[in-house]
Structures are given as structure tokens and as C-alpha cells.
């Protein structure tokens, strides 16, 4: 009885099991990072607020829209591919990857502006977390862009699904990071 239960629970899971393992692991890491950020913030609320004012909030808001649109395109690509529209699916994946690059350009401009202001990872604890969390996230965006291009080329349904799952995780993490790091007053 228990055998059947534990077997079916995993069988009902859509997509690749290992991708779910990765997604849960990533959420744990970013979640722990955010918890640590909040905990350290408690020790110095004024310092954190002052540091946060150096951030370019409008750019990050724009980036949120860019990334969510990109996630929409990746999801759309999977639907189109399942419906047999391979060409449309490929273009959607390329467009999703291009928006990923746009995200990275805006992010890069943000880092460059910080650097020009003389702000580094050790300027303040706030910036340690800022660079760690957004930098680690940006590394995932880079990986996502590569993967999106890869499945635009090797476009089996299972491949697109796996990468769309990954890409939504990258989206989700950004949607969690953005309010906590940029907006939380």
C-alpha cells in the first residue's frame, strides 16, 4: 500500500524529477540568503535603509517586467511546441533568451553605477547581501539564457519543459529578491 503511495506521488509529478530537486534546492539557498539578510538587517535598520537608498529602484522594476515577460514567452513556447508549432516555439524561446540578455544589461548597468559610486561588496553588510543574492541570481540568468538557446535548437518537448521550469524558478527567485532588497522600507 505504502509502496504504491510513494511511487505514485513521484509519478504524478510533471516534468523531470531532478529539475524539481534543483528547484527546491535553489529556493532553499535563496530563502536562507533572504532570511540571513533580514536577520542582519535587524541589527542595523538605519544602515540598511541608508544603503538601500543607493539602489536604482526603477531599473529593478523594469527588470522585473522584463523577466516576467520572458517567463511568459518560455511558457508559451512549451504550449506551442506541444501543439506542434515548432517554428513559433523556437522564436518564443529565442525571444525569452533575448529578454534574459536585456535583464543582464540593465543589471550590468546597475552594477557599473554602483562601482562608479565606489560601492563594493564590503562597503556595508547590505551590499554584501545585495551582491551575493543578485549576483548569484544573475549567474542563473546567464545559465538560463544558454539553456533557452540550447532548447531552441534541441527542441524536444521534455527539454523545453525542463528549461521552462528552470526559467520560472529564476523568475520566482527574482520576484522574491526584488521587494525584499529594493523596496522593503
Amino acid at each position: 500500500m505504502s509502496d504504491a503511495a510513494s511511487g505514485s506521488a513521484l509519478d504524478d509529478l510533471p516534468g523531470e524529477l531532478l529539475m524539481w530537486v534543483l528547484i527546491v534546492s535553489e529556493l532553499l539557498v535563496f530563502g536562507a540568503g533572504l532570511v540571513a539578510f533580514m536577520a542582519v538587517r535587524l541589527t542595523d535598520p538605519a544602515g540598511f535603509a541608508a544603503a538601500q537608498d543607493h539602489l536604482f529602484r526603477a531599473g529593478a522594476a523594469l527588470n522585473t517586467m522584463v523577466l516576467v515577460s520572458s517567463g511568459f514567452l518560455a511558457a508559451q513556447a512549451l504550449r506551442w511546441r506541444e501543439a506542434g508549432a515548432r517554428g513559433a516555439a523556437r522564436w518564443a524561446l529565442v525571444a525569452a533568451a533575448a529578454l534574459g540578455v536585456v535583464f543582464l544589461i540593465i543589471k550590468g548597468a546597475e552594477y557599473a553605477a554602483k562601482s562608479a559610486d565606489g560601492i563594493g561588496w564590503d562597503t556595508h553588510a547590505f551590499f554584501t547581501f545585495y551582491y551575493l543574492l543578485t549576483g548569484f541570481h544573475a549567474a542563473h540568468v546567464v545559465a538560463g539564457v544558454v539553456l533557452l538557446m540550447l532548447v531552441a535548437w534541441r527542441d524536444a518537448v521534455a527539454n523545453i519543459q525542463a528549461v521552462a521550469m528552470f526559467w520560472h524558478m529564476v523568475d520566482l527567485v527574482w520576484v522574491l529578491l526584488y521587494p525584499v532588497i529594493y523596496l522593503l522600507a
Binding site: 530537486v21 534543483l22 534546492s25
Partner: protein, 455 residues
């Protein structure tokens, strides 16, 4: 034994067990020096005893892994080992290298010589010629097993095992790079020490454990493989950046404190998964395998690895905690239970499973073997608790109250005595184990009598 060349494993296991006996004896001697510090201080200084204890551990564990590979790869690949001659040559090189290293350490021969003298870096202090020998032996080994796997059937177990063994050999190459800057030295040093035991060795452990579960419980290969992939993914995800927990205080940038704390906290997850895996397989399995001792060692391995590597590791992995506990007896407690649970027990599990097959016997001395499990495990667990309490007291006296190191050591004497006592149990357990797997039972039942049905 289905394949003739599996016999190679016998020689590897024999060497491994001989070194195991030496390792625990050196450990016991080191434990005695803790309670009676001047013992042999001129003849065999403590740092040399400690080096023998830790180096022989690493060498026998790796020899055991290699033996395990030679034992299980033919069965998994359904092929004889590519070249038995090379396999024995490889073992010879390793034995000569090990003896050379030991002699060089003990007599400090060729002091300072670039090729023949010891290098003085903890755990990778082998003279350069021994390191080259290790690399040659590793290349022979990888060539031999990879050719076998490539020619035969590829299974998840052999794939993961090979990935682990290749990683083990490639990471060792960092031992040739010795930067003058002490921070950089330590940074690369951990590429070997950490990425071995909290990276690629976990792959080796998971694959050997998966093989044992497959054989002992009779659960479907598909189920075992699914677990294996998940465990490996979790181990690499947490373990690679988990290296950061060694970069807190060696001069590396401060962001490592957060990277190390967060990722290494997750290192407990693959160990939990391995424990869950072992128990779920036994619970699901329908096979009643006669080698109960091998099953006990396998379950004991998964459980003690979870506590030793996982729980005791987490205990002092957060940098805020480690700031106080770093380098105290807490570390020693973790080190002992982690190595014993994860890698010693794993080797003893595969020895227990394989030895009767290699010697073409029934699994004799089950009770003795299981007795050795409880004696050894009880000893190591007691030692772990003694050292944990010692470390807690030490942390408080030395790091919080700021007392002098040696004054604190005097106050820890009671714990060191308890650790020595636990060490005696471990050594006796180890000898009992070796006797149980090596020596057949004396009273052999006559074939005629065995065939007579009981009334």
C-alpha cells in the same frame, strides 16, 4: 563470484584491512599521548603519530574504494576487468608509495629535499615521488576500470562510481600546486580535502551503497537508480560551494562566510537522503539475504554518516558558531564520527558483503561481525560524545573566557581519558572485524550432516 577478475578485490581488501589495523593502532597511541603527553615525544612525536593516523585512514579508504570498484564493476558491466596484471601492478605501486611515505615521515629522511623529502602540508605531506606514484597508480586504475565499463554494460551505479573516482584522482592534482601565500595554499588545499570527502567521495559512497542495497534487498534497479541520481545531485549542489565553510578565517574575502554557511548547511540533506534511501530499500525489499552483517553495516553506515557528517557537521558550520568552535575538540568529534560513519562503515559493509563471495564461502562469523559493528560503533559514538563535551567546555573556557590553551587542556583530561577508553573498544572491534571476515569458522558442518533433514 560470477567473474574471475573480481578476485582482484581480495588483494585490495587485504591491504586495506591491514592499513585499517595500523590506522586505529596509531589512533590509540595518539589518544594515549593526549593523556600522557611525553610518551615517545623524542622517538615518534605526536605530529607524526597523528599524520600516520590520518594518512593511513585516507589510504586504506581509497584502497577499499578501488577494491570495491574491482569487485562490483565486472558484475555491473558484465565483463571481466580489462587487465588484472595492471590492477596488481597498481596495488604494488600504492603499497610501495605508502611504505615509502611512512618511512620518510617516521625518520624524516631527506629533510627538505624537493623530490625525496616530506612536503609538510597536512594530509598531502607525501614526498613528491610518492605523489607521482599515486598519480601513476590512479591513471592505471582509471584506465583499467574505464576500459571495462566502456566495453560492457553501463549502469547508473558504474557511471556515478566512475564519476566519483575520476573526480577523486583529478582533484588530487592540486597537491602539486603549492603557492607561497599561505591563504592561497589553504584555499587550494581544500579543493582536495573538502571536495573529496564532501564531494566526489559522496558519489562513491552513494554508488557503493546503491550496489549493496540492490544486492541485499532485491529492490528494482530503477528505484535504486532514481534515488542515486537525486542523492548525487543533492551532494554536488550543496558540497561544491559548501567548500566555503573552510574559507571563514584563512584570509579569503568575507562573503565566503555567507556562501559557506548557507551551502554547507544543506550538506546534511544528501546524507539524510542516503539514510532514508537505505531504510526505505530494506523496508520495501523482499529479499531475505543471508549476509545479515553486511546489511547491518550498510544501515549503520547510512545512519552514522547522517549523524557524523550531517548533524555534527551542521553543529559548527555556521560561521557565527564556528567563530568560537573553530579548531576545538568539536572539530575532532565531527571528524571521527563523519569518517567512521560515512567511509569506514561503507568500506566495512562492502568487505563484509564481498569477502565470503571472494573466498567462496558462506557468510561465516555473522555474530562476531555484528558484534564488531556494535563494539566499534559504540566506541566511536562514545568517543564522539566525549570529544563534543570536551569541545564545548574548551570553547567556553578558551574562546569565551579567554583562558590559556594549555591550562584548558589540563581541564579536559577527564574527556581525554574517556576518549582513550573508547579508542580501546574501537581497536578491539577492528581486530574482531578482521578476524570475522578473514578466518573461516573452525567447526565446519559435515556435508552429509547438513543434508539430513531435521526431525
Amino acid at each position: 563470484m560470477k567473474y574471475e577478475t573480481q578476485k582482484i578485490a581480495l588483494a585490495y581488501f587485504a591491504v586495506a584491512m591491514a592499513l585499517f589495523a595500523i590506522q586505529v593502532s596509531a589512533g590509540l597511541l595518539a589518544g594515549w599521548v593526549y593523556v600522557s603527553p611525553n610518551t615517545l615525544s623524542e622517538l615518534l612525536p605526536f605530529n607524526i603519530i597523528r599524520m600516520l593516523h590520518s594518512n593511513s585512514l585516507v589510504v586504506w579508504l581509497i584502497t577499499g574504494f578501488m577494491g570495491a570498484a574491482y569487485f562490483l564493476i565486472p558484475e555491473e558491466s558484465e565483463r571481466e576487468i580489462h587487465s588484472p596484471t595492471l590492477a596488481y601492478l597498481q596495488l604494488l605501486i600504492l603499497v610501495v608509495g605508502t611504505l615509502g611515505a611512512v618511512v620518510t615521515y617516521v625518520f624524516d629522511l631527506f629533510h627538505g629535499h624537493w623530490l625525496l623529502g616530506m612536503e609538510g602540508r597536512e594530509f598531502i605531506e607525501q614526498p613528491v615521488w610518492v605523489k607521482v606514484g599515486i598519480v601513476v597508480a590512479a591513471l592505471i586504475f582509471l584506465y583499467n576500470v574505464t576500459m571495462t565499463v566502456l566495453a560492457g554494460k553501463k549502469t547508473a551505479i558504474t557511471n556515478i562510481l566512475l564519476l566519483g573516482l575520476w573526480g577523486l584522482a583529478l582533484l588530487f592534482l592540486f597537491s602539486f600546486y603549492n603557492p607561497g601565500n599561505l591563504s592561497l595554499d589553504k584555499q587550494f588545499w581544500w579543493y582536495i580535502v573538502h571536495l573529496w570527502v564532501e564531494g566526489v567521495w559522496e558519489l562513491i559512497m552513494a554508488s557503493i551503497l546503491a550496489y549493496l542495497m540492490l544486492k541485499l534487498t532485491g529492490v528494482d534497479r530503477e528505484v535504486v537508480e532514481k534515488w542515486l541520481y537525486v542523492i548525487v545531485a543533492l551532494a554536488l549542489f550543496s558540497g561544491i560551494l559548501g567548500t566555503g565553510h573552510h574559507y571563514y578565517w584563512i584570509g579569503t574575502p568575507g562573503y565566503w562566510q555567507w556562501i559557506g554557511s548557507i551551502f554547507s548547511s544543506l550538506e546534511v540533506v544528501p546524507f539524510f537522503a542516503m539514510m532514508a534511501f537505505a531504510f526505505v530499500m530494506v523496508w520495501k525489499g523482499r529479499r531475505d539475504h543471508p549476509n545479515k552483517a553486511a546489511l547491518l553495516w550498510s544501515l549503520g553506515c547510512a545512519t552514522l554518516a547522517f549523524f557524523g557528517a550531517g548533524v555534527w557537521g551542521f553543529l559548527h558550520t555556521l560561521h557565527g558558531v564556528n567563530y568560537y568552535t573553530h579548531g576545538t575538540q568539536i572539530t575532532a568529534a565531527h571528524g571521527h564520527l563523519a569518517f567512521y560513519g560515512a567511509y569506514v562503515s561503507l568500506n566495512l559493509a562492502i568487505f563484509t558483503y564481498a569477502m565470503p563471495i571472494l573466498l567462496n564461502r558462506d557468510p561465516y562469523n555473522q555474530v562476531l561481525n555484528m558484534g564488531s559493528f556494535w563494539l566499534m560503533s559504540g566506541g566511536v559514538v562514545f568517543m564522539t560524545f566525549a570529544l563534543t563535551f570536551a569541545g564545548t567546555v574548551q570553547t567556553h573556557l578558551q574562546r569565551v573566557l579567554g583562558e590559556n590553551f594549555m591550562d584548558v587542556q589540563d581541564q579536559l583530561a577527564i574527556f581525554y581519558w574517556m576518549r582513550f577508553g573508547a579508542g580501546i573498544a574501537v581497536v578491539l572491534g577492528a581486530l574482531l572485524f578482521i578476524y570475522a571476515v578473514a578466518v573461516p569458522r573452525k567447526e565446519i558442518i559435515e556435508p552429509g550432516a547438513a543434508e539430513t533433514p531435521a526431525e
